[in-house]
């Protein structure tokens, strides 16, 4: 006899299941239709490129859980539930195929393996659900917020698995299934029922079967109305995610006279992908617990922002197109204005998000609306914008004084010596700010020591526009880009070394959007290369403990983690990594134009990060960014540790190690 199973054993009224499924699929279809029509409120997003690459990487990320596993316990919890439910779903489909299409799969060895797989999957899901329950309601892990739907989903899944096991064990108990051992859980439970009257077993089985079927189909119908929608939206969002560097903001067609609205001042100004993002979010807390603004008690939470957008999207979709305009003030009533200005664009939220929600472009989109359309922004930015516009630097210092830092140094200006092999892009801080001028001096020293042929633009260099863009002033950014590109084109510059990660990111990732393509190298990478090729030799006997603050626009946004650490290791220090480093690094608080604003709300981000640094008991704190340098120095001073600890740029470290 071939082992197998009678489908619909003990179920007289098998038509019920078609009724259930019809109801479930109608509910599912209608719910999804409503969500899709919500997403369609948005603008085009142009994410239809690279279909094959997108498919490959989406499959990889969804099936392999790469991002999700970054947090161990919840990651594994999700992995077991995901693969367990997927197995059960496939299994149920095989059963359905056998019942309705008459396939003969469920027999012989395959049937035995099938049973084992289904039981294991069920057990796995149950284990995952237990962890989840513990995390949510007993451990009260971190920032999980519990809504009623979280409890419903948990109960629903638990119910499905338990009734499934119940149905199985009752059947085994009643029929004395000879292959019962291949369903270890069912077999074990069947032991409890053994000895009960057969008709009792059969009638209980009927009830359990009905419960199992209705819960299962109920879950399918419930998907579009709950966070379970992420079963659909998370893979979609992963497929349609941005394939560009996170440090690259979408450009506005600022010169197109047909465009009357700039930035996101209403829900409809976002792209459909932005709106899909809101439905992909599972409120997992990873963005918010890594957000420097949220952690320091500012009104920004990336998660809340996404949730508020989702609620507003549903609210708007219910209105007729005519009524949609008369809704309350989008920014102000739906999204708190202070939240927009609290973002440092450090990228931690996007780096952490397991479903690839893009928070920064939304925040910048709304800042763009505030600045370009409403001229409403923190007042301290007014002079910053004007200074960038008139003087080409945020402080409004004389344009012609830009090269003054190099007086008396062996540094040439391109206008005098012609096109060099490398342009050293000093940036505003390196040119004007006393502390960072010393970094520029150190860098010039290194380049000269290694015999690199370089020159600076001097008074022809202007602010790269990074802060302007991240503050939403796309007009100002693009004007600066045009002016700088013209200068660079005039001299035929091909290779650029930057001192500031913000200049680095803008020149490398954002200037190409306007046709300016250069080989851009950050000074850490360049110096690292000089060390590796032996052009400079470090006499590293300095000693002492050193820690390193990853600049967001060097690390997270551009993936440069190794070069700075390698430089430190070669210069003879004992390197101590801070809590939260590399991808997990915590912002100094100055990015996204925050350096030009007062930090009035919550505690200070730089103090927070300084404390992380102090925990490593360092003698030196190294960084590779003018903003980080300033913020960490301020932090150390306010901790009264500035006599014991030196904050250095890697270039300063290297020049000292050369000269020793």
């Amino acid at each position: 006899m071939i082992t197998g199973r009678e489908i619909f054993w003990n179920i007289a009224n098998r038509g019920m299941i078609y009724l259930f499924s019809a109801a479930a699929f109608i509910a599912f279809g209608y719910g999804m239709y409503r969500r899709v029509s919500m997403w369609r409120l948005g603008q085009p997003a142009g994410r239809n490129d690279h279909a094959w690459d997108r498919t490959k990487s989406a499959l990889n990320l969804v099936l392999g859980h790469g991002r999700i596993l970054r947090r161990g316990r919840p990651g594994w919890m999700h992995l077991v539930i995901f693969w367990g439910m997927a197995t059960l779903f496939v299994g149920t489909t095989i059963v359905a195929l056998q019942a309705d299409l008459g396939t003969r799969l469920l027999q012989g060895r395959f049937y035995l393996y099938f049973k084992l797989a289904m039981d294991t999957a069920g057990l796995g899901v149950l284990a995952g659900l237990l962890v989840s329950f513990h995390r949510r309601y007993l451990d009260k892990d971190g920032g999980l917020e519990n809504r009623s739907e979280d409890g419903v989903v948990l109960a629903l899944l638990t119910g499905i698995i338990l009734t499934g096991f119940l149905v199985e064990s009752l059947r085994i108990a009643s029929t004395g299934d000879p292959s019962g051992a291949w369903s270890p859980v069912g077999n074990f439970l069947a032991g409890i029922f053994r000895g009960a009257a057969r008709n009792k077993l059969n009638s209980t089985h009927k009830i359990a079967w009905m419960a199992h079927a209705s819960l299962s189909f109920g879950m399918i119908g419930y998907v579009p109305y709950s966070k379970m929608i992420h079963i659909v939206t998370a893979p979609l969002n992963t497929y349609f995610r941005s394939m560009q560097p996170t440090g690259m903001l979408p450009p506005l067609e600022i010169d197109n006279d047909d465009i009357k609205r700039f930035g996101a001042g209403a829900l409809e100004d976002f792209t459909w992908k932005d709106l899909l993002d809101t439905d992909a979010c599972v409120r997992c807390d990873r963005c918010q617990s890594h957000c420097p603004a949220h952690v320091t008690a500012k009104p920004l939470s990336p998660r809340k922002l996404i949730m508020d957008l989702r609620a507003h999207m549903a609210e708007k979709e219910r209105l007729t197109p005519d009524d949609r305009h008369s809704v309350k003030n989008f920014i102000g009533d739906i999204i708190e204005e202070d939240a927009l200005w609290a973002c440092t664009t450090c990228g931690s939220c996007m780096e952490q998000c397991p479903v690839f929600v893009e928070h920064i472009p939304k925040i910048i989109g709304m800042r763009r609306n505030r600045v370009l359309m409403e001229s409403r922004f923190p007042t301290e930015l007014n002079p910053v914008f004007r200074n960038m516009e008139y003087s080409g630097n945020p402080w409004g210092l004389g344009r012609t004084k830009r090269a003054d830092w190099s007086n008396g140094l062996d540094v040439n200006v391109v206008a005098n010596v012609g096109t060099p092999e490398f342009l050293y892009w000093v940036g505003c801080a390196g040119s004007f700010e006393d502390r960072n001028r010393r970094v520029a001096t150190a860098m010039a020293g290194i380049l000269n020591h290694a015999g690199v042929e370089f020159a600076i633009l001097g008074s022809e260099e202007k602010c790269c526009g990074d802060s302007a863009r991240r503050l939403g002033n796309e007009y100002l950014f693009q004007s600066l880009v045009q002016e700088n590109m013209e200068t660079l084109r005039g001299y035929g510059i091909k290779k650029i070394i930057t001192q500031c990660p913000h200049c680095f990111n803008a020149l490398k990732n954002e200037y190409p959007q306007f046709g300016g393509t250069y080989e851009v190298i950050h000074h850490t990478e360049f110096v690292h290369r000089l060390i590796e090729t032996g052009q400079i030799k470090l006499k590293g006997e300095t000693g002492g403990t050193i820690t390193y603050q990853d600049p967001c626009y060097l690390g997270r946004h551009n993936g440069v983690y190794r070069a700075p650490r390698d430089i430190i290791n070669r210069s003879g220090f004992r390197f101590a990594e801070m809590r939260g480093s590399s991808q997990e690094s915590f912002c100094c608080g100055a990015g996204g134009g925050r350096i030009w604003m007062e930090e009035r709300l919550g505690e200070r981000i730089n103090i927070r990060r300084t404390e992380d640094a102090l925990d490593t008991s360092p003698e030196f704190i190294a960084t590779a960014c003018p903003y980080c340098l300033t913020m960490m120095e301020d932090g150390i001073k306010s901790k009264n540790m500035d006599e014991k600890i030196r904050i250095v740029d890697l270039a300063e470290l290297v020049i000292e190690a050369i000269r020793q």
């Binding site: 009357k260 359309m373 001229s375």
Partner: protein, 294 residues
């Protein structure tokens, strides 16, 4: 908005951006036009913002900017429109460049007289030559009451009078004055940042340009005060602590910190910081290269 109705006139002068080097044309003692980069005279932008603030509270005022400016300064004048001024009138003619404050006031008076206004707002002085005369002279020529160096102007709901605040050392004065009147502004909120659509809109606006004949003037009187020479400041000496007093650095700094270095009266000398903290200050100044030892 009433095209010819009452309004606020703001006089605005484009000036050379003094953060850039000033290259002089030696033959005429004026800024070499080739090195010139126009910006709006900063005190005038404060006057414009004050006018716009009044306009925000009492809509219906027409805000007119009147400027004596060459065609090359049209672009910066357009910023007034982008910020919210309703109209810019530019007056220029041969010989106007030579005009002194009195000549400028005559031109402005002639240009303003033809238009209805309740209030004239001006910056208290030009950031380049700093005469601080044009505003008061303009008030005299138009026979208006005037308040100089104001910090804020509030217009009554009936548009019949204003209340003005100005600061004198140690006090804030609040004054009122019937309209029409002229106020020169010393400080106030900075000029608002233009919305981008406004910036784009005003690019195409043709700025009205009048010559002297159009405002009923045959010419302006030649200036009686002549600029003789421009002397650049002596380079700042960085060895502040070293001056030949023969005193040791620490002692000298102690004296400076106590208010005793320049103090003439005994009462101005404050209790002296102790030697240890002074020594620390000196070390800091030297370390940061803020001062150099001779």
């Amino acid at each position: 908005m009433n095209e010819t109705g009452p309004g606020i006139v703001v006089t605005v002068a484009p000036v050379h951006d003094c953060r850039d080097p000033v290259l002089l044309d030696p033959s005429r003692g004026r800024i070499d036009p080739a090195s010139r980069r126009w910006i709006l005279n900063p005190p005038d932008t404060i006057a414009l913002e004050q006018a716009l603030l009044i306009g925000d509270r009492l809509p219906g005022f027409r805000i007119r900017v009147v400027s004596v400016a060459p065609p090359s300064a049209e672009d910066v004048l357009r910023e007034c429109l982008a910020a919210g001024a309703d109209e810019v009138v530019r007056v220029w003619d041969e010989g106007v460049e030579e005009a002194d404050p009195y000549g400028l006031a005559m031109i402005l008076a002639a240009a303003i007289r033809a238009r209805p206004f309740q209030l004239i707002l001006a910056g208290w002085r030009r950031a380049d030559v700093e005469h601080a005369q044009t505003g008061p002279m303009l008030a005299e020529l138009l026979g208006l009451p005037q308040i100089t160096c104001a910090r804020s102007v509030e217009m009554g709901r009936d548009s019949e009078s204003i209340r003005v605040e100005k600061r004198i050392p140690g006090r804030m004065l609040t004054m009122s004055c019937p309209l029409p009147a002229l106020v020169t502004m010393e400080k106030g909120p900075p000029l608002r940042y233009p919305r981008y659509p406004d910036r784009r809109r005003v690019r195409k606006i043709q700025i009205a340009s009048l010559d002297l004949g159009a405002i009923g003037l045959a010419g302006v009187p030649p200036p009686l005060v002549q600029l003789e020479r421009v002397t650049p400041p002596k380079p700042r000496r960085r060895s502040a602590l070293g001056a030949a007093t023969g005193m040791p650095v620490v002692a000298r700094l102690q004296r400076i910190l106590s208010g005793g270095a320049q103090a003439k009266k005994e009462s101005n000398i404050r209790p002296c910081p102790d030697r240890a903290s002074t020594l620390k200050t000196v070390e800091h100044l030297l370390k940061e290269k803020l001062v150099l030892l001779p």
